[in-house]
């Protein structure tokens, strides 16, 4: 019972509406779509809908409308056939309208797999500058179709993309904020404040941005070059101790 309910749960999203559910029931029962055993199919349909309801799933109104339709067709089939209307030689089967809708729906549903195939194939093709925006269709925007709304939509698209690409956004800041000179002054001031200097690793505060690491490294190299700082490393890969060179008094 539980497994039955669970399998239904998994299958639930697979139904694209009442027509889809009906078609799948008809296929499963291996009956002729033009001669639907309406009582049996209605029973199965109602059982499915009731199961959803018993599982507290919100059943869309469309499924309930279809349930009512099925019950109505069933009851009409039970009634004795009305006398044929004058001038009408064919007797309308109460199922005809439903069958017509099912067939019509199936026509379109059946090309979906074809479209899926085309979609997959197309997604394996890449166009020029696809790296910038792989989802873009790379079509020019027709001038006539453009107005302020298009522009607003474009901005929103760009901003949403930017919201996702946080790292890229924040990476722009440092370019103009820090200079080597500033960093050198900062390092030197810190080293001068203590007789034993500081460890090279002490300068890195987590989280540390890449540009800060590079800048710090360059600053230390420059200070070493101009002879304002001394570096001592006890053995390979050990931490480097930096000390400020005492200025001649």
């Amino acid at each position: 019972m539980l497994s039955a309910a669970r399998s239904l749960l998994f299958r639930l999203p697979a139904y694209e509406g009442p027509l889809d559910l009906l078609l799948q029931l008809i296929r499963k029962s291996k009956v002729d779509i033009y001669d639907i055993p309406i009582a049996e199919i209605t029973r199965q349909y109602m059982a499915t809908v009731e199961l959803w309801q018993s599982m507290d799933l919100a059943v869309a109104g469309e499924y309930l409308v279809m349930a009512a339709t099925l019950v109505e067709i069933k009851s009409r089939l039970l009634l004795p056939a009305p006398p044929p209307a004058e001038g009408d030689d064919t007797e309308e089967d109460p199922r005809a309208e439903l069958v017509r809708r099912l067939v019509e729906y199936e026509r379109y549903a059946s090309v979906v797999d074809g479209l899926k195939g085309l979609e997959s194939y197309r997604r394996d093709l890449y166009f020029r500058a696809a790296m910038e925006d792989p989802e873009a269709y790379l079509l020019p925007v027709p001038e006539a179709a453009l107005d302020g709304r298009a522009l607003l939509a474009a901005l929103q698209r760009a901003l949403e993309a930017a919201g996702v690409k946080d790292a890229l956004v924040t990476a722009v800041v440092p370019r103009r904020r820090l200079s080597l000179r500033m960093k050198m002054a900062e390092v030197l001031r810190r080293l001068r404040s203590s007789a034993e200097g500081a460890l090279f690793s002490d300068f890195f505060e987590v989280p540390c941005r890449r540009y800060e690491i590079v800048l710090l490294f360059l600053a230390v190299l420059e200070l070493l070059r101009v002879g304002k700082v001394r570096a001592v490393q006890r053995n390979p890969l050990a931490d480097i101790r930096l000390t400020a060179v005492q200025e001649a008094a």
Binding site: E16, G17, Y34, V103, K116, E119, L125, Y126, L138
Partner: protein
């Protein structure tokens, strides 16, 4: 200098589908010469085992990578998996084969409401609003776009896989001769997507 190389340069720099007329103007030659040059280019690309190919897509011509190289390219240009849902594909199918068509008509075919799906498809520029139908309520008419063709790698609407028309009309005749108006050419024929909407012809009992 060869015309094949010229056309290659143009397709390369454009990065979007170019029409024969655009190419002919830039190459200062006849559209037929352009077609010849396109064929030559395609042959040359194939002969030297190039990673590129010429595609006839969305009403024009465009250079694209071959599918064999999709994995390599994907490692460089990561894309999110934003394929269309089945609901979106079904809705698109109805629009593509019946265009121009309206929300009530689509809902009649699919048996579910499609407002949200239509909005998504419009945002992705796969369908577009093409005026209003001259029936009660004046519903918006939807048609597919060039982007739709591009999304599915089609040159034109006629390239869509055929909806099995003959079969269906035979079936329709059998089960519901009285329910279906005479098979019309407008909506169901994928060859003529541009056929003017026959106003207020009851399209497939949409209102039933």
């Amino acid at each position: 200098m060869s015309q094949a190389a010229e056309v290659e340069c143009l397709l390369f720099v454009a990065g979007e589908p170019l029409q024969l007329a655009d190419l002919a103007r830039a190459m200062q030659c006849d559209p037929m010469d352009v077609e010849e040059a396109l064929r030559e280019l395609q042959v040359e690309l194939g002969a030297r085992g190039s990673g590129l190919q010429v595609l006839a897509i969305a009403g024009g011509y465009q250079l694209a990578t071959r599918t064999e190289y999709a994995d390599t390219v994907a490692r460089l240009a990561a894309r999110s998996d934003s394929r269309l849902s089945r609901a979106a594909l079904e809705t698109l199918a109805v629009i593509a084969y019946r265009q121009p068509t309206t929300q009530p008509e689509i809902e009649a075919v699919r048996g579910v409401s499609v407002g949200g799906v239509l909005k998504t498809l419009q945002e992705r520029r796969l369908i577009v609003d093409a005026g209003r139908k001259a029936t009660m309520g004046r519903p918006i008419l939807y048609v597919t776009t060039q982007e739709f063709l591009h999304y599915f790698g089609l040159k034109e609407i006629a390239d869509l896989p055929p909806l099995d028309d003959a079969d269906v009309s035979a079936i329709v005749g059998k089960v519901a001769a009285s329910a279906q108006p005479a098979p019309r050419s407008g909506g169901a024929d994928p060859q003529e997507p541009g056929t003017a909407p026959q106003d207020d012809a009851p399209i497939g009992e949409a209102s039933s």
